[in-house]
Amino acid sequence: MRKLGLILAYTFAFIMMLLYFSPKVELYYTLEEFLKNEKIIFSDERVKDSGFTLKLDNSKLYYRGVYGGEIEDISFTTLLLYNSLSFKNAYLNSALADILPKKIEYLDIKYAIYNPMHISIDGKGDIGKIGGYINPFSKLLHIELNVAKKEKTKYATLLRKFKPDEKGVLVYELRY
């Protein structure tokens, strides 16, 4: 039994070492190539490998060659049992203001193995606060938005996609 425990401990340690030493920057460059085929490009970013976290500073986002905005800080952390993707201070192209909020203060997407059916979403932008989840099994995206009153008219086009629930919270659901 003790030997089995030791083997498990060594296996766990080896996996953690693999994650720590994994070539995250090169993996990101490979992902970029895949995103390029989808016409999504992160440009002019500074890529930094910080052990378990990959950080991208000041990325400019382009979709089909159109400038979408700039994101000050993107960080992806993986600990196998717990993974997170965070965006901080995203300034989106003002020409897209009626489709997307102009500024996103933060957006955190977290996934933990102990709750496999729930990828949580939490964020805040000039439009208000958002919360929600993705259920990868039922392929459902559920977003709840607490919109700031003064932004209701500004983002009327975007808000049309949301429907109020019984509590008056704006909800958007998408099955993919």
């Binding site: 030493f21 070539p23 993996l27 190539e33 440009s43 089909r64 060659g65 159109v66």
Partner: protein
């Protein structure tokens, strides 16, 4: 005690070996991965803003054609001028275009009599037209009327004013598009896609224009003379080779005074030209 040290050192050695294996694996995996990132090339070169130069213009020849049958009546608000009280109209031609003046009482200055000559300015209002019943002033493009024996009022009256209809032109004339109509679309990005749908046209895997797949009747794009199946090749002589170039036109159109859309229609290249006024 000796046993413990050997056990710890054994664990440490095992962990070091595992770390070395993990590092070796990660290093070898680099061989299969990309070692450089992707960047977007942005064209920062300065280009002169597009201007439509017509050599006939300095000689007073304006080639914007508005046909008489294209004149329609549209409702434009006309305000009553409440600060003045009309007393007399003197005009030398039917609409006073050759000259004339009015006599009015200025209510803001204790009913003082004032004489206002045709095309002269009074308190920012320019006298533009005279009829037997009323005088029409203009201020900042807005029309104001002054009539005999009317009560002081600031109410809004809808009155038809002649305006050119930009709906039906032949293909070879320069069309006129109002700035406000253009601004309406630049403010509401989504309304564009409700009015027109376009699809990229590719040649050798690269975008070589945008095909108009549908166009809603009565919208600005319909009025502009674009037709279904037209392939937009360039705008203001800039080739439409990417979504970015199309988006740049959308961003810059607010500041444009003229617009030239080159389309391929029935395998023939055609220029659609517009003055934005």
């Amino acid at each position: 005690m000796n046993l413990d040290i050997s056990r710890y050192s054994k664990t440490a050695v095992t962990l070091l070996i595992l770390a070395a294996i993990a590092k070796a694996l990660s290093l070898s995996s680099i061989y299969f991965l990309n070692r450089s990132g992707v960047s977007q090339t942005v064209d920062n070169s300065y280009t002169m803003p597009y201007k439509s130069y017509r050599f006939s213009k300095p000689f007073g020849i304006v080639d914007v054609v508005v046909k008489s049958e294209d004149i329609v009546k549209v409702n434009q608000p006309v305000y009553n001028l409440s600060s003045l009280e009309l007393k007399a109209i003197y005009k030398t031609s039917k609409n006073g275009s050759d000259g004339g003046f009015i006599v009015a009482l200025d209510n803001t200055k204790g009913k003082r009599s004032v004489f206002i000559k045709m095309l002269s300015e009074y308190n920012g209002y320019t006298l533009k037209e005279l009829t037997n019943e009323k005088a029409t002033f203009e201020r900042n493009g807005q029309k104001y009327k002054l009539e005999f024996k009317k009560k002081k009022s600031s109410s809004l009256i809808q009155e038809p004013i002649a305006r050119p209809n930009r709906q039906k032109y032949s293909d070879d004339v320069i069309r006129a598009v109002s700035k406000s109509e253009v601004h309406k679309y630049t403010k509401d990005f989504k309304s564009i896609w409700k009015s027109i749908s376009i699809k990229e046209v590719k040649q050798n895997g690269k975008i070589d224009g945008f095909k108009v797949t549908s166009i809603k009747q009565g919208t600005i794009f319909d009025k502009l003379g674009l037709k279904k199946d037209d392939i937009i090749i360039s705008v203001n002589n800039k080739p439409m080779k990417s979504y970015a170039s199309a988006f740049k036109i959308y961003k810059d159109v607010k500041t444009m005074t003229s617009l030239k859309i080159t389309v391929k229609r029935n395998n023939q290249t055609k220029d659609l030209e517009y003055e934005i006024y």
